[in-house]
Symmetry: C3
Subunit: 157 residues, 3 copies
Protein backbone atom coordinates (compact mmCIF):
# COMPACT_ATOMS: atom_id res chain seq x y z
CA UNK A 1 0.00 0.00 0.00
CA UNK A 2 1.35 3.39 -0.99
CA UNK A 3 1.42 5.78 1.98
CA UNK A 4 -1.14 8.59 2.02
CA UNK A 5 1.57 11.29 1.89
CA UNK A 6 3.18 9.61 -1.10
CA UNK A 7 -0.17 9.30 -2.87
CA UNK A 8 -0.79 12.98 -2.26
CA UNK A 9 2.63 14.03 -3.59
CA UNK A 10 2.19 11.97 -6.74
CA UNK A 11 -1.35 13.27 -7.19
CA UNK A 12 -0.04 16.82 -6.83
CA UNK A 13 2.62 16.08 -9.46
CA UNK A 14 -0.09 15.01 -11.89
CA UNK A 15 -2.23 18.10 -11.25
CA UNK A 16 0.59 20.65 -11.20
CA UNK A 17 2.16 19.32 -14.38
CA UNK A 18 -1.22 19.30 -16.16
CA UNK A 19 -1.79 22.86 -15.00
CA UNK A 20 1.48 23.88 -16.67
CA UNK A 21 0.16 22.56 -19.98
CA UNK A 22 -3.26 24.14 -19.44
CA UNK A 23 -1.63 27.54 -18.87
CA UNK A 24 0.84 27.07 -21.74
CA UNK A 25 3.91 27.01 -19.50
CA UNK A 26 5.46 24.10 -21.36
CA UNK A 27 9.00 25.03 -20.37
CA UNK A 28 8.07 24.60 -16.70
CA UNK A 29 6.23 21.38 -17.50
CA UNK A 30 9.57 19.83 -18.53
CA UNK A 31 10.93 20.35 -15.03
CA UNK A 32 8.54 17.71 -13.71
CA UNK A 33 10.70 15.11 -15.50
CA UNK A 34 14.01 13.64 -14.34
CA UNK A 35 17.04 14.34 -16.58
CA UNK A 36 16.68 10.87 -18.11
CA UNK A 37 12.89 11.14 -18.14
CA UNK A 38 11.03 9.42 -20.95
CA UNK A 39 7.87 10.86 -22.51
CA UNK A 40 5.92 8.98 -25.16
CA UNK A 41 2.51 9.33 -26.76
CA UNK A 42 1.36 5.99 -28.20
CA UNK A 43 -1.90 5.19 -30.02
CA UNK A 44 -3.81 2.56 -28.05
CA UNK A 45 -4.17 0.42 -31.16
CA UNK A 46 -0.39 0.19 -31.56
CA UNK A 47 0.18 -0.33 -27.86
CA UNK A 48 -2.33 -3.20 -27.75
CA UNK A 49 -0.76 -4.93 -30.76
CA UNK A 50 2.84 -4.27 -29.73
CA UNK A 51 3.44 -2.13 -32.83
CA UNK A 52 6.39 0.25 -32.57
CA UNK A 53 4.91 3.41 -34.13
CA UNK A 54 4.38 6.27 -31.71
CA UNK A 55 3.22 9.86 -32.02
CA UNK A 56 5.85 11.38 -29.73
CA UNK A 57 9.00 9.77 -28.30
CA UNK A 58 11.36 11.75 -26.11
CA UNK A 59 14.08 9.74 -24.37
CA UNK A 60 15.37 12.41 -22.02
CA UNK A 61 14.84 15.96 -20.86
CA UNK A 62 16.95 17.49 -23.66
CA UNK A 63 14.72 15.90 -26.28
CA UNK A 64 11.68 17.25 -24.45
CA UNK A 65 13.29 20.69 -24.40
CA UNK A 66 13.98 20.52 -28.15
CA UNK A 67 10.40 19.54 -28.79
CA UNK A 68 9.04 22.51 -26.86
CA UNK A 69 11.39 24.91 -28.67
CA UNK A 70 10.24 23.55 -32.02
CA UNK A 71 6.60 23.80 -30.93
CA UNK A 72 7.16 27.43 -29.99
CA UNK A 73 8.53 28.13 -33.47
CA UNK A 74 6.36 25.92 -35.63
CA UNK A 75 3.01 25.66 -34.03
CA UNK A 76 1.88 29.24 -34.49
CA UNK A 77 -1.36 28.34 -36.23
CA UNK A 78 -2.75 25.95 -33.66
CA UNK A 79 -3.88 28.33 -30.93
CA UNK A 80 -6.00 26.64 -28.33
CA UNK A 81 -6.52 26.34 -24.60
CA UNK A 82 -6.08 22.94 -23.00
CA UNK A 83 -8.08 21.76 -20.01
CA UNK A 84 -7.26 18.46 -18.34
CA UNK A 85 -9.41 16.34 -16.12
CA UNK A 86 -7.31 13.58 -14.57
CA UNK A 87 -9.12 10.85 -12.72
CA UNK A 88 -9.09 7.26 -11.52
CA UNK A 89 -5.51 7.38 -10.19
CA UNK A 90 -4.36 3.85 -9.37
CA UNK A 91 -1.19 3.23 -7.37
CA UNK A 92 0.03 -0.11 -8.70
CA UNK A 93 3.37 -0.85 -7.06
CA UNK A 94 6.61 0.48 -5.67
CA UNK A 95 9.94 -1.08 -6.51
CA UNK A 96 13.27 0.38 -5.38
CA UNK A 97 11.79 3.85 -5.09
CA UNK A 98 10.01 3.73 -8.45
CA UNK A 99 6.23 4.10 -8.20
CA UNK A 100 4.12 2.64 -10.99
CA UNK A 101 0.93 4.69 -11.24
CA UNK A 102 -1.82 4.82 -13.84
CA UNK A 103 -4.56 7.38 -14.34
CA UNK A 104 -7.21 8.27 -16.89
CA UNK A 105 -7.47 11.66 -18.55
CA UNK A 106 -9.91 13.64 -20.62
CA UNK A 107 -8.34 16.56 -22.45
CA UNK A 108 -10.57 19.33 -23.79
CA UNK A 109 -9.44 22.04 -26.15
CA UNK A 110 -11.05 25.40 -26.66
CA UNK A 111 -10.39 27.36 -29.83
CA UNK A 112 -10.01 31.16 -30.07
CA UNK A 113 -13.75 31.49 -30.76
CA UNK A 114 -14.41 29.96 -27.36
CA UNK A 115 -15.75 26.62 -28.58
CA UNK A 116 -14.72 23.62 -26.48
CA UNK A 117 -14.51 20.04 -27.62
CA UNK A 118 -13.18 16.74 -26.42
CA UNK A 119 -9.69 16.46 -27.85
CA UNK A 120 -8.40 13.19 -26.41
CA UNK A 121 -9.07 10.52 -23.82
CA UNK A 122 -6.67 7.86 -22.68
CA UNK A 123 -4.47 6.62 -19.90
CA UNK A 124 -1.20 7.77 -18.35
CA UNK A 125 1.17 4.94 -17.43
CA UNK A 126 3.80 6.52 -15.20
CA UNK A 127 6.97 5.72 -13.33
CA UNK A 128 7.45 8.31 -10.59
CA UNK A 129 10.52 8.80 -8.41
CA UNK A 130 11.36 11.26 -5.66
CA UNK A 131 14.38 13.59 -6.06
CA UNK A 132 15.22 15.65 -2.97
CA UNK A 133 11.68 15.02 -1.80
CA UNK A 134 10.04 16.19 -5.03
CA UNK A 135 8.01 13.77 -7.16
CA UNK A 136 9.22 13.58 -10.77
CA UNK A 137 8.33 11.63 -13.87
CA UNK A 138 10.99 9.08 -14.71
CA UNK A 139 8.64 7.87 -17.40
CA UNK A 140 5.26 8.99 -18.69
CA UNK A 141 3.68 6.87 -21.39
CA UNK A 142 0.44 8.36 -22.71
CA UNK A 143 -1.78 5.76 -24.35
CA UNK A 144 -4.30 7.69 -26.43
CA UNK A 145 -7.63 6.06 -27.21
CA UNK A 146 -8.37 8.92 -29.61
CA UNK A 147 -6.19 8.61 -32.68
CA UNK A 148 -8.56 9.21 -35.57
CA UNK A 149 -7.91 12.90 -35.91
CA UNK A 150 -5.14 15.33 -35.09
CA UNK A 151 -2.48 12.64 -34.92
CA UNK A 152 -0.21 15.29 -36.48
CA UNK A 153 -0.70 17.50 -33.44
CA UNK A 154 2.35 17.16 -31.27
CA UNK A 155 1.57 19.30 -28.25
CA UNK A 156 1.99 17.51 -24.91
CA UNK A 157 -0.99 15.68 -23.44
CA UNK B 1 -17.07 10.87 9.07
CA UNK B 2 -15.71 7.99 7.04
CA UNK B 3 -12.10 7.17 7.96
CA UNK B 4 -9.38 8.13 5.46
CA UNK B 5 -8.33 4.47 4.98
CA UNK B 6 -11.92 3.46 4.30
CA UNK B 7 -12.39 6.30 1.83
CA UNK B 8 -9.22 5.22 0.05
CA UNK B 9 -10.30 1.57 -0.14
CA UNK B 10 -13.70 2.50 -1.55
CA UNK B 11 -12.11 4.93 -4.00
CA UNK B 12 -9.73 2.17 -5.11
CA UNK B 13 -12.72 -0.15 -5.61
CA UNK B 14 -14.32 2.41 -7.92
CA UNK B 15 -11.15 2.93 -9.95
CA UNK B 16 -10.11 -0.73 -10.17
CA UNK B 17 -13.57 -1.89 -11.19
CA UNK B 18 -13.82 0.84 -13.84
CA UNK B 19 -10.41 -0.16 -15.14
CA UNK B 20 -11.70 -3.72 -15.61
CA UNK B 21 -14.42 -2.37 -17.89
CA UNK B 22 -12.01 -0.05 -19.71
CA UNK B 23 -9.71 -2.98 -20.45
CA UNK B 24 -12.61 -5.30 -21.36
CA UNK B 25 -12.01 -7.67 -18.44
CA UNK B 26 -15.71 -7.91 -17.64
CA UNK B 27 -15.38 -11.34 -15.99
CA UNK B 28 -13.01 -9.83 -13.41
CA UNK B 29 -15.29 -6.81 -13.00
CA UNK B 30 -17.98 -9.14 -11.61
CA UNK B 31 -15.69 -10.12 -8.74
CA UNK B 32 -16.01 -6.64 -7.29
CA UNK B 33 -19.60 -7.56 -6.36
CA UNK B 34 -20.80 -9.62 -3.40
CA UNK B 35 -22.60 -12.86 -4.21
CA UNK B 36 -25.93 -11.13 -3.63
CA UNK B 37 -24.73 -7.95 -5.29
CA UNK B 38 -27.27 -5.88 -7.21
CA UNK B 39 -26.41 -4.00 -10.40
CA UNK B 40 -28.94 -1.76 -12.11
CA UNK B 41 -28.81 0.86 -14.85
CA UNK B 42 -31.77 3.22 -14.58
CA UNK B 43 -32.64 6.21 -16.78
CA UNK B 44 -32.65 9.36 -14.67
CA UNK B 45 -36.10 10.27 -15.97
CA UNK B 46 -37.57 7.03 -14.64
CA UNK B 47 -35.66 7.26 -11.38
CA UNK B 48 -36.90 10.80 -10.74
CA UNK B 49 -40.53 9.81 -11.43
CA UNK B 50 -40.38 6.51 -9.59
CA UNK B 51 -41.08 4.58 -12.79
CA UNK B 52 -40.08 0.93 -12.72
CA UNK B 53 -38.47 0.56 -16.17
CA UNK B 54 -34.73 0.00 -16.11
CA UNK B 55 -32.07 -0.70 -18.75
CA UNK B 56 -30.25 -3.42 -16.82
CA UNK B 57 -31.29 -5.22 -13.66
CA UNK B 58 -29.12 -7.94 -12.14
CA UNK B 59 -30.11 -9.15 -8.70
CA UNK B 60 -27.06 -11.20 -7.88
CA UNK B 61 -23.66 -12.25 -9.15
CA UNK B 62 -25.01 -15.16 -11.20
CA UNK B 63 -27.23 -12.82 -13.18
CA UNK B 64 -24.26 -10.56 -13.75
CA UNK B 65 -22.26 -13.56 -14.95
CA UNK B 66 -25.04 -14.57 -17.35
CA UNK B 67 -25.15 -11.07 -18.74
CA UNK B 68 -21.43 -11.02 -19.43
CA UNK B 69 -21.60 -14.43 -21.12
CA UNK B 70 -24.42 -13.23 -23.34
CA UNK B 71 -22.51 -10.02 -24.12
CA UNK B 72 -19.51 -12.09 -25.16
CA UNK B 73 -21.70 -14.06 -27.55
CA UNK B 74 -24.07 -11.43 -28.84
CA UNK B 75 -22.26 -8.16 -28.86
CA UNK B 76 -19.75 -8.89 -31.58
CA UNK B 77 -20.63 -5.87 -33.68
CA UNK B 78 -20.21 -3.21 -31.04
CA UNK B 79 -16.45 -2.96 -30.74
CA UNK B 80 -15.36 0.00 -28.73
CA UNK B 81 -12.98 1.10 -26.01
CA UNK B 82 -14.43 2.52 -22.81
CA UNK B 83 -12.72 5.20 -20.77
CA UNK B 84 -14.17 6.25 -17.41
CA UNK B 85 -13.59 9.40 -15.48
CA UNK B 86 -15.10 9.05 -12.01
CA UNK B 87 -15.29 12.14 -9.86
CA UNK B 88 -17.03 13.94 -7.04
CA UNK B 89 -17.06 10.93 -4.71
CA UNK B 90 -19.31 11.67 -1.73
CA UNK B 91 -19.32 9.44 1.35
CA UNK B 92 -22.85 9.74 2.65
CA UNK B 93 -23.22 7.40 5.58
CA UNK B 94 -22.27 4.12 7.21
CA UNK B 95 -24.83 1.82 8.75
CA UNK B 96 -23.97 -1.63 10.12
CA UNK B 97 -20.95 -1.91 7.87
CA UNK B 98 -22.75 -0.73 4.74
CA UNK B 99 -21.29 2.43 3.22
CA UNK B 100 -23.55 4.60 1.09
CA UNK B 101 -21.41 6.41 -1.45
CA UNK B 102 -22.28 8.41 -4.56
CA UNK B 103 -20.04 9.55 -7.39
CA UNK B 104 -20.37 11.12 -10.82
CA UNK B 105 -19.01 9.57 -13.97
CA UNK B 106 -18.33 10.51 -17.54
CA UNK B 107 -17.91 7.54 -19.86
CA UNK B 108 -16.24 8.01 -23.24
CA UNK B 109 -16.21 5.46 -26.00
CA UNK B 110 -13.73 5.24 -28.83
CA UNK B 111 -14.62 3.34 -31.98
CA UNK B 112 -12.25 1.19 -34.05
CA UNK B 113 -11.43 4.20 -36.24
CA UNK B 114 -10.08 5.95 -33.13
CA UNK B 115 -12.84 8.53 -32.78
CA UNK B 116 -13.85 9.29 -29.21
CA UNK B 117 -17.16 10.63 -28.03
CA UNK B 118 -19.06 11.16 -24.83
CA UNK B 119 -21.17 8.05 -24.35
CA UNK B 120 -22.88 8.62 -21.01
CA UNK B 121 -22.85 10.81 -17.93
CA UNK B 122 -24.62 10.10 -14.68
CA UNK B 123 -24.27 9.11 -11.08
CA UNK B 124 -23.33 5.92 -9.25
CA UNK B 125 -25.37 5.27 -6.09
CA UNK B 126 -23.52 2.53 -4.25
CA UNK B 127 -23.71 0.37 -1.18
CA UNK B 128 -20.24 -0.89 -0.34
CA UNK B 129 -19.31 -3.54 2.23
CA UNK B 130 -16.00 -5.06 3.29
CA UNK B 131 -15.48 -8.84 2.94
CA UNK B 132 -12.23 -10.13 4.44
CA UNK B 133 -10.92 -6.59 4.25
CA UNK B 134 -11.77 -6.10 0.57
CA UNK B 135 -14.31 -3.49 -0.52
CA UNK B 136 -17.16 -4.94 -2.61
CA UNK B 137 -20.32 -3.65 -4.22
CA UNK B 138 -23.40 -4.89 -2.41
CA UNK B 139 -25.37 -2.61 -4.70
CA UNK B 140 -24.48 -0.36 -7.59
CA UNK B 141 -27.32 1.67 -9.07
CA UNK B 142 -26.24 3.64 -12.14
CA UNK B 143 -28.55 6.56 -12.84
CA UNK B 144 -27.88 7.61 -16.43
CA UNK B 145 -28.61 11.19 -17.46
CA UNK B 146 -27.97 10.18 -21.06
CA UNK B 147 -30.80 8.04 -22.32
CA UNK B 148 -31.60 9.43 -25.76
CA UNK B 149 -29.44 7.05 -27.72
CA UNK B 150 -27.94 3.62 -27.33
CA UNK B 151 -30.44 2.51 -24.73
CA UNK B 152 -30.22 -0.87 -26.40
CA UNK B 153 -26.56 -1.05 -25.53
CA UNK B 154 -26.22 -3.24 -22.49
CA UNK B 155 -22.51 -3.16 -21.72
CA UNK B 156 -21.70 -2.25 -18.11
CA UNK B 157 -21.19 1.40 -17.21
CA UNK C 1 1.23 21.87 3.12
CA UNK C 2 -2.49 21.80 3.70
CA UNK C 3 -3.43 19.14 6.26
CA UNK C 4 -5.18 15.99 4.97
CA UNK C 5 -8.34 16.71 7.01
CA UNK C 6 -8.50 20.25 5.62
CA UNK C 7 -8.02 19.00 2.08
CA UNK C 8 -10.80 16.52 2.61
CA UNK C 9 -13.20 19.13 4.00
CA UNK C 10 -12.53 21.49 1.10
CA UNK C 11 -12.88 18.65 -1.39
CA UNK C 12 -16.20 17.71 0.21
CA UNK C 13 -17.34 21.35 -0.09
CA UNK C 14 -16.62 21.25 -3.84
CA UNK C 15 -18.47 17.97 -4.36
CA UNK C 16 -21.47 18.73 -2.14
CA UNK C 17 -22.01 22.17 -3.65
CA UNK C 18 -21.75 20.78 -7.18
CA UNK C 19 -24.26 18.09 -6.24
CA UNK C 20 -26.72 20.81 -5.20
CA UNK C 21 -26.51 22.28 -8.69
CA UNK C 22 -26.74 18.85 -10.34
CA UNK C 23 -29.93 18.12 -8.39
CA UNK C 24 -31.35 21.60 -8.98
CA UNK C 25 -31.25 22.57 -5.29
CA UNK C 26 -29.88 26.02 -6.03
CA UNK C 27 -31.28 27.53 -2.84
CA UNK C 28 -29.17 25.10 -0.80
CA UNK C 29 -26.17 25.75 -3.01
CA UNK C 30 -26.15 29.35 -1.78
CA UNK C 31 -25.58 28.17 1.77
CA UNK C 32 -22.09 27.02 0.86
CA UNK C 33 -21.14 30.71 0.61
CA UNK C 34 -20.30 33.12 3.44
CA UNK C 35 -22.61 36.11 3.86
CA UNK C 36 -20.08 38.30 2.04
CA UNK C 37 -19.29 35.53 -0.43
CA UNK C 38 -18.40 36.55 -3.98
CA UNK C 39 -19.42 34.51 -7.03
CA UNK C 40 -18.28 35.45 -10.51
CA UNK C 41 -18.28 33.76 -13.90
CA UNK C 42 -15.63 35.29 -16.15
CA UNK C 43 -14.74 34.37 -19.75
CA UNK C 44 -11.13 33.19 -19.88
CA UNK C 45 -10.39 35.60 -22.71
CA UNK C 46 -11.41 38.57 -20.56
CA UNK C 47 -9.63 37.22 -17.50
CA UNK C 48 -6.37 36.75 -19.42
CA UNK C 49 -6.50 40.28 -20.85
CA UNK C 50 -7.66 41.94 -17.65
CA UNK C 51 -10.92 43.05 -19.28
CA UNK C 52 -13.72 43.87 -16.86
CA UNK C 53 -16.68 42.18 -18.58
CA UNK C 54 -18.09 39.17 -16.75
CA UNK C 55 -21.04 36.83 -17.27
CA UNK C 56 -22.18 36.74 -13.65
CA UNK C 57 -21.07 38.93 -10.75
CA UNK C 58 -22.58 38.48 -7.29
CA UNK C 59 -20.88 40.38 -4.47
CA UNK C 60 -22.62 38.76 -1.53
CA UNK C 61 -25.13 36.11 -0.56
CA UNK C 62 -28.14 38.39 -1.05
CA UNK C 63 -27.20 39.00 -4.66
CA UNK C 64 -26.82 35.25 -5.12
CA UNK C 65 -30.26 34.73 -3.60
CA UNK C 66 -31.79 37.32 -5.95
CA UNK C 67 -30.21 35.61 -8.90
CA UNK C 68 -31.66 32.24 -7.96
CA UNK C 69 -35.12 33.75 -7.45
CA UNK C 70 -34.95 35.37 -10.87
CA UNK C 71 -33.74 32.12 -12.42
CA UNK C 72 -36.69 30.31 -10.89
CA UNK C 73 -39.07 32.82 -12.47
CA UNK C 74 -37.42 33.50 -15.80
CA UNK C 75 -35.61 30.38 -16.85
CA UNK C 76 -38.60 28.16 -17.44
CA UNK C 77 -37.65 27.27 -21.00
CA UNK C 78 -34.13 26.04 -20.32
CA UNK C 79 -34.80 22.68 -18.72
CA UNK C 80 -31.70 20.59 -18.41
CA UNK C 81 -29.81 18.34 -16.03
CA UNK C 82 -26.31 19.37 -14.99
CA UNK C 83 -23.55 16.89 -14.23
CA UNK C 84 -20.22 18.11 -12.88
CA UNK C 85 -16.90 16.38 -12.93
CA UNK C 86 -14.45 18.31 -10.76
CA UNK C 87 -10.82 17.31 -10.92
CA UNK C 88 -7.21 18.35 -10.48
CA UNK C 89 -7.78 20.09 -7.14
CA UNK C 90 -4.68 22.10 -6.23
CA UNK C 91 -4.24 23.54 -2.74
CA UNK C 92 -2.18 26.67 -3.34
CA UNK C 93 -1.81 28.48 -0.04
CA UNK C 94 -3.29 29.38 3.30
CA UNK C 95 -3.17 32.89 4.66
CA UNK C 96 -4.92 33.93 7.87
CA UNK C 97 -7.44 31.12 7.58
CA UNK C 98 -8.18 31.73 3.89
CA UNK C 99 -7.36 28.79 1.65
CA UNK C 100 -6.61 29.49 -2.00
CA UNK C 101 -7.62 26.43 -4.01
CA UNK C 102 -8.01 25.85 -7.74
CA UNK C 103 -9.70 23.00 -9.57
CA UNK C 104 -10.75 22.11 -13.10
CA UNK C 105 -14.29 21.24 -14.06
CA UNK C 106 -16.18 19.73 -16.95
CA UNK C 107 -19.90 20.46 -16.90
CA UNK C 108 -22.24 18.33 -18.98
CA UNK C 109 -25.86 19.14 -19.65
CA UNK C 110 -28.56 16.71 -20.65
CA UNK C 111 -31.72 17.97 -22.32
CA UNK C 112 -35.24 16.61 -21.76
CA UNK C 113 -34.78 14.20 -24.68
CA UNK C 114 -31.91 12.61 -22.80
CA UNK C 115 -29.09 13.88 -25.01
CA UNK C 116 -25.93 14.86 -23.15
CA UNK C 117 -23.31 17.29 -24.33
CA UNK C 118 -20.31 19.12 -23.00
CA UNK C 119 -21.58 22.47 -21.80
CA UNK C 120 -18.54 24.14 -20.31
CA UNK C 121 -14.98 23.50 -19.19
CA UNK C 122 -12.83 25.80 -17.11
CA UNK C 123 -11.26 26.42 -13.75
CA UNK C 124 -12.56 27.35 -10.31
CA UNK C 125 -10.37 29.83 -8.43
CA UNK C 126 -11.60 29.73 -4.84
CA UNK C 127 -11.02 31.31 -1.47
CA UNK C 128 -12.32 28.96 1.21
CA UNK C 129 -12.74 29.70 4.93
CA UNK C 130 -14.04 27.66 7.84
CA UNK C 131 -17.06 28.91 9.82
CA UNK C 132 -17.87 26.87 12.94
CA UNK C 133 -15.87 24.04 11.40
CA UNK C 134 -17.73 24.09 8.07
CA UNK C 135 -15.90 24.96 4.85
CA UNK C 136 -17.51 27.86 2.93
CA UNK C 137 -16.79 29.81 -0.22
CA UNK C 138 -15.61 33.31 0.58
CA UNK C 139 -14.98 33.68 -3.12
CA UNK C 140 -15.56 31.48 -6.14
CA UNK C 141 -14.32 32.82 -9.46
CA UNK C 142 -15.25 30.57 -12.37
CA UNK C 143 -13.03 31.13 -15.39
CA UNK C 144 -14.84 29.59 -18.35
CA UNK C 145 -12.80 28.43 -21.33
CA UNK C 146 -16.05 27.87 -23.21
CA UNK C 147 -17.62 31.19 -24.11
CA UNK C 148 -18.65 30.80 -27.73
CA UNK C 149 -22.21 29.73 -27.05
CA UNK C 150 -24.75 30.06 -24.32
CA UNK C 151 -23.10 33.11 -22.79
CA UNK C 152 -26.65 34.27 -22.17
CA UNK C 153 -27.21 31.29 -19.92
CA UNK C 154 -26.88 32.42 -16.35
CA UNK C 155 -27.35 29.26 -14.33
CA UNK C 156 -24.57 28.57 -11.82
CA UNK C 157 -21.56 26.54 -12.92
Amino acid sequence: MTLPETRQSITDLFYESAHCIDTDRLEEWIDFFTDDGVYKIVPKENYDRGLPAVIVWCDNKDMLRDRIVSLRNANIYNFHTDRHIIGNIRFLSEDAGVHAVESNYALYQTDPEGESRLFSVGIYMDKVVFLDGAAKFKERIVIVDTCAVHSMVSTPI
